[in-house]
């Protein structure tokens, strides 16, 4: 019996996020993302498939730091998809908004029409120091210059798990069998990844039970697959 097609999704609990950037580093290592040197960062061309945005709230001395990790929202109605002239970005049946590196010609239209700023352009040929060359993940393509790249929800891990499941008698995937690098690395378990179509999965239960959930830029109606849980404010009693 074949399992229903999964719809991958993520829940990001901002109450748990400490802004430690472990997810960013984990993603960088897992997905062969080029090293963001200081120079590249100052050119505003850094590539971070998941980034942690930090905002300050309030006036000194009552300043609070707010963190929000932003991976690709994997919108069900992604605005980046219809604008690509060569179908380099398209939707998989599992709800992932994927990028086909070989097709991409680098018009950057998808980035113009992505309002979460999670599509990245390779302005230069990526380089790694010799010491890091053996660290590259063999399951992930190294992107050349001139093309777009973006968060894939670690599609290499999903494919691996699905292949294993198929080999083992076409069994359905278990919850927790696939995890993204960022969710795996998160020390405070702020990121939760899983199959939204499996009502038993942790992520689906969270989505169905929470009353703190919201999506980013919901007014655009793109149906993101990433749900944020808003921070619980500590109210001090007077």
């Amino acid at each position: 019996m074949s399992a229903p097609v999964p719809r991958w999704g993520m829940v990001i609990d901002l109450d748990r996020c400490t802004g430690c950037q472990a997810c960013v580093v984990a993603c960088q290592a897992e997905n062969n993302v080029p090293i963001n040197t200081e120079e590249i960062f100052h050119q505003n061309r850094a590539i971070e498939w998941i980034r942690v945005e930090r905002y300050w709230e309030g006036e000194f001395p009552n300043v609070k730091a707010r963190y929000i990790p932003v991976p690709c929202m994997q919108c069900a109605n992604a605005p980046c998809e219809p604008v690509c002239p060569v179908y380099a970005t398209m939707h998989t049946t599992e709800g992932i908004n994927m990028q086909v590196y070989n097709r991409c010609i680098g018009t950057r239209y998808c980035s113009v029409n992505c309002h979460w700023h999670v599509r990245f352009f390779n302005f230069w040929e990526p380089k790694w120091p010799d010491s890091l060359k053996n660290q590259l993940n063999p399951d992930v393509t190294v992107r050349s210059r001139g093309i777009m790249e973006k968060c894939t929800f670690c599609i290499q891990r999903i494919n691996q798990a699905e292949r294993t499941a198929r080999v083992e008698g076409n069994r359905p995937l278990l919850d927790g069998e696939v995890n993204t690098a960022c969710a795996q690395a998160c020390p405070s378990r702020a990121l939760l990844f899983g199959n939204l179509n499996d009502p038993a999965s942790k992520v689906a239960q969270k989505v169905n039970t929470t009353d703190r959930g919201y999506t980013l830029l919901a007014e655009l109606g793109t149906k993101p697959a990433v749900l944020y849980l808003k921070k619980v404010e500590v109210v001090e009693k007077a």
Binding site: N77, E219, G221, T222
Partner: protein, 457 residues
């Protein structure tokens, strides 16, 4: 009708100046019985419409916007047709062709009706809430939206009447000088001391062109403001920037259609067959076709951007204005304003006829009516205009008897005013025609005879 080289030759430029004067004066002297009949019918309609406004919307007060829907439709329809017709005259004057001369007066006549939209406008102004706290193009200017829109509207109406007056002043003077004693009264008063001196002519020509240009600018401005204040800001979430342009352009189309129909009526019943002929209908038909295409272009650009955007705000607007609530008015208007003009007028042979452009013009006027119904019904039904986007789409508003009476009455009033204006303003336009005749000479050219048209710088 003369036929040369197998082609029908137009009579327009075969008159002598004396004939033109005699023709024009004759129309001022004699009016047929059908004229009186139509005048009386339209006046009665107007009275019924006025009564309907009082017992319908007026009694229910200014709090309930929806009951005023058809007052707004009537207003919008008159603005789109009668008020835009003089713009056709201005545009053709600007292009400096001679074919336009018999047409100008036809479209300018409709400026006489501007008082009716003005009155309706003041009634509708009572429905406008303050512009504070809601989308508006006024951004909280003091007195907005009431004062500024009224200033524009009053200026438009005054300019319209001044334009009509100036462009017919020499003819009024002719009537003063040449009509019999018993009929002169009005003309003497209106003509002032116009004696056709060099200085007066120069002033007149400048006055007509400046007033005309000013009228078009005011018209575009007023339509922009009306579209923004009475339609866009009443539909939550609608900030379609093209809409005022669409509203204006489709009105120009209706203005051209109205000119064509008026010309056809004058030809058939007004004895103007010798002046308005194939040339005029051919070029007006071309203009109508061009504006039919523009109508499509402007509605398409609005549609495609919303369609591609797919945000909930835009989906609600598409459902309201295009696909669900007001689908039929939209579909009818689309067919009548774009599809029919395109399919019918694209054939040169159809354009070069009287019937072709006239039939299409009638269709366009009907289509314009449906456009106005769609727009004002949609904009007068949302109850909460302060929300950022349309959350629940209000059901379609269907007109009752009173609504239809209001519409018919106001159109009747406009027709009556034009008929009354014809008692003062001569048709054919005497001075325009004579100027055209002066600038036209026949010469021999090799084996044939050609016409040389003068184009003064």
């Amino acid at each position: 009708m003369a036929v040369i080289h197998g082609r029908r030759v137009q009579q327009t430029w075969e008159h002598t100046p004396e004939e033109v004067v005699a023709d024009g004066l004759q129309r001022l002297r004699v009016r047929g019985s059908s004229y009186r009949l139509v005048l009386i019918i339209s006046l009665i309609l107007f009275v019924i419409g006025a009564v309907a406004i009082i017992i319908g919307p007026f009694r229910s007060g200014f709090g309930n916007r929806q009951t005023w829907t058809y007052v707004a439709v009537a207003f919008g329809y008159l603005m789109a047709t009668c008020a835009s017709a003089p713009c056709v005259s201005v545009a053709t004057r600007l292009a400096r062709g001679h074919w336009r001369r018999p047409v100008n007066r036809v479209s300018e006549l409709w400026a006489a009706t501007l008082i009716i939209p003005l009155i309706l406008f003041f009634l509708l102004l009572g429905l406008q809430p303050s512009s504070a706290g809601r989308p508006s193009v006024w951004f909280g200017w003091p007195g907005s939206p009431w004062i500024w829109a009224s200033v524009l509207m009053i200026a438009l109406v005054l300019t319209g009447y001044a334009f009509l007056y100036f462009s017919s002043l020499p003819d009024i003077a002719v009537a003063r000088d040449q009509l019999e004693n018993g009929r002169r009264g009005w003309f003497t008063r209106l003509a002032g001391n116009w004696h056709g001196t060099d200085h007066q002519w120069r002033t007149l020509e400048r006055g007509v062109s400046y007033l005309g240009a000013f009228y078009v600018i005011l018209y575009v401005g007023t339509m922009t403001v009306i579209a923004a204040d009475f339609i866009l800001s009443f539909i939550p979430g609608n900030n379609s920037a093209i809409f005022p342009a669409y509203y204006t352009i489709s009105s120009f189309e209706a203005g051209i259609a109205l000119t064509i129909i008026t010309a056809a009526i004058l030809r058939r019943w007004g004895g103007a067959a010798g002046y308005l002929d194939l040339d005029q209908f051919f070029i007006l038909g071309k203009l109508l076709l061009a504006f039919g295409l523009l109508y499509f272009y402007f509605s398409w650009t609005e549609f495609i951007v919303w369609w591609y955007g797919r945000t909930p705000r835009e989906e609600a607007l598409l459902k309201l204005l295009y696909f669900e609530t007001y689908f039929w008015p939209f579909a009818i208007a689309f067919v009548l304003n774009f599809v029919c003009p395109l399919l019918i007028l694209m054939w040169t042979r159809v354009r070069r006829s009287i019937t072709g452009p006239t039939v299409v013009a009638i269709l366009v006027l009907v289509g314009t009516l449906f456009t106005q119904i769609r727009l004002y019904s949609a904009s007068f039904s949302p109850t909460n205009i302060y929300e950022p986007e349309l959350h629940t789409i209000p059901p379609a508003y269907l007109p009752g008897l009173i609504d239809l009476l209001i519409l018919a009455g106001m159109v009747g009033g406009a027709v009556a005013l034009v008929l009354l204006a014809l008692r003062v303003v001569a048709y054919p336009p005497i001075w325009e025609m004579i100027a055209g005749l002066r600038l036209r000479v026949k010469r021999r050219y090799k084996h044939t005879e050609v016409v040389v048209i003068g184009k003064p710088d």
